[in-house]
């Protein structure tokens, strides 16, 4: 693979990665959000794949395959199951009261237009903050470093402003995707054992959150996390 093609493809993967994070903010349907998250997993897996092919490292290619299986396959599958469990079939036909639809993020804390503009500001912030890091060693990979940081920030933002439990799980996973991408872009990945540990950690977190969502649904009839305040009363 020539240097120019490598740069072009890496830029394309990073562009898709960032775009997926933005679309998560844009869409309201939880099924669409999960689908976009799966696509982001593929874009994320493309980064170590390209790095591995470029630097002739077989372990990075293996890591890429593992990431694709976990983040584009298993995690979206688990979330889709949680979504079906939290919005049973008999609910779907019924007309829902505004804000009570389990399958849509109807009323985020910050409205969608404002959160898109915030994402723009966060991206610019990430670029500004990453400048000294990029200046240390300006290769094509490090130059794309701000993309990883931007996704971390957008993930935080989703985590902080969404009401539905599943949308918050996606926010948490965006955050984790961003951290992984930053690791690959800055240092061509962390040691394999750390990578495995992180992956299992994420998987367990999603499994726990899935059970929690289902329990919330049975206990309160909704996954709107704002309702959890009533526990303290």
């Amino acid at each position: 693979m020539s240097e120019a093609t490598f740069t072009q493809l890496l830029d394309l993967a990073c562009g898709g990665f960032l775009l997926a994070a933005v679309i998560v903010l844009w869409r309201r349907e939880l099924t669409a959000i999960i689908q976009v998250f799966a696509l982001q997993g593929l874009a994320l897996a493309a980064i170590p794949l390209l790095l591995g092919l470029h630097e002739h490292r077989a372990d990075l290619v293996a890591v890429a395959a593992g990431i694709a299986a976990l983040r584009a396959g298993l995690l979206p599958y688990l979330m889709r199951r949680a979504l079906i469990a939290s919005a049973p079939a008999e609910d779907r036909g019924r007309r829902h009261r505004e804000g009570s639809d389990e399958r849509r993020e109807t009323q985020p804390v910050v409205n969608v237009a404002a959160s898109l503009l915030t994402a723009a500001m966060l991206t610019l912030l990430a670029y500004a903050v990453a400048q000294p890091l990029v200046a240390l060693d300006p290769t094509p990979a490090t130059r794309a470093l701000p993309v990883g940081l931007a996704v971390v920030l957008i993930g935080f933002f989703v985590l902080a402003t969404r009401r539905r439990a599943l949308a918050q799980v996606v926010g948490f996973l965006l955050l984790d995707n961003g951290i992984t991408a930053t690791a690959f872009l800055a240092a061509s990945g962390v040691p394999l054992i750390v990578e495995l540990g992180v992956s299992f950690d994420v998987l367990l977190a999603v499994l726990v959150l899935q059970i929690l969502t289902t329990r919330m649904r049975t206990a309160f009839g909704t996954t709107d996390l704002d309702d959890l305040r009533e526990l303290a009363d």
């Binding site: 120019a4 830029d11 394309l12 990073c14 933005v22 991206t123 400048q131 094509p140 130059r143």
Partner: protein
């Protein structure tokens, strides 16, 4: 060079004026076929224009110069933009003046003229339509500017012919993430600016959902013909701008007759194909609620901003902030 250059400009304007109603006819025909109707035929918009032009000019009492000047201004700005942007050739005598900011400002002038006319008529619908149109326009202009800025960074200029000829000689610019993001952003902006679904429904006469139709409700006769022709020309010019920027293949970069002839045919084909695709897509889309429109446009603004940042930082030309 000069004869060919002037011919190219005249051909661009002539093709846009003559082709705009045909493009609308084609889009309606595609839509009709997909919905299982027979359709009115390709040249129905031209027949409408002819019918309206023969009618007696009539203006509502109490309207002033803004109402009377708006149709002519709308058509004039669209014609000037058609002459300026490199639809067919980049080697035209006006290429030094074909700046991005001039083009966007001219389009905005047409929008504002029509909005003033809507206010001037003094009816509730006119005012409502104008206010909505201005809301949309205020969000569309920065998006259009930013989306093209993403392409003007690698070219190093905001001159449209320079951007287009740069892209013809270096096609990898368009396949970059910046190019793709800018395409998406500009496409949404064009849909909003031309008043198509999902922002406005050009076929509707339901007062509560319309934007463009509400402003021109008071027009009749030749004035209405001009307003219709003007908005059709705007649509053609905007689609032409989109194809010129993101699919520039075939546009004449040298001043020869053969290149010009090929470019003319290709331009007509590209815009017709884009229009047909748009019409087919519209069958499957619904108009979004007016309150959701800013959301859509904020999204496209964000895409444009990401395109600019990607173009600036990833290309490696960017230094510190």
């Amino acid at each position: 060079m000069n004869v060919i250059g002037y011919t190219a400009v005249v051909a661009q304007v002539a093709l846009v004026v003559a082709g705009a109603p045909l493009l609308t006819g084609l889009m309606r025909q595609v839509r009709a076929k997909l919905e299982g109707r027979a359709g009115a035929g390709l040249i129905q918009p031209w027949r409408d224009v002819r019918k309206l032009l023969r009618k007696q000019p009539i203006t509502p009492t109490g309207t002033g110069p803004a109402f009377r000047a708006a149709p002519a201004l709308l058509v004039a700005t669209a014609a000037v933009v058609a002459a300026l942007i490199p639809l067919v050739s980049t080697q035209t005598p006006v290429r030094r003046h074909a700046d991005l900011i001039v083009v966007v400002a001219l389009l905005a002038l047409g929008t504002v003229a029509l909005a003033l006319a809507g206010l001037d008529s003094g009816t509730a619908f006119g005012g409502m339509g104008s206010s909505r149109e201005m809301t949309v326009a205020g969000l569309v202009e920065p998006t259009m500017l930013l989306a093209v800025f993403a392409l003007s960074i690698p070219a190093g200029t905001t001159n449209l012919p320079a951007i287009v000829s740069g892209a013809i000689h270096d096609p990898t610019r368009l396949a970059s993430p910046a190019g793709l993001l800018a395409t998406a952003a500009l496409a949404v902006a064009v849909l909003a600016e031309a008043g198509r679904i999902p922002v406005d429904n050009p076929a509707t006469h339901l007062e509560l959902t319309m934007i463009h139709e509400a402003m021109v409700l008071e027009y009749a006769g030749p004035d209405l013909a001009l307003v219709e022709l003007g908005s059709q020309m705007r649509l053609t010019v905007l689609l032409g701008l989109l194809t010129s920027l993101f699919a520039p293949w075939g546009i004449a970069t040298s001043a020869t007759w053969t290149a010009l002839a090929i470019a003319l045919v290709l331009f007509a084909l590209k815009v017709a194909a884009l229009g047909a695709v748009l019409a087919a897509a519209e069958v499957f889309w619904a108009k979004v609620r007016l309150f959701r429109v800013p959301e859509l446009l904020a999204g496209s603004f964000l895409l444009a901003l990401l395109a600019v940042t990607a173009s600036y930082f990833l290309s490696g030309t960017g230094g510190g902030l």
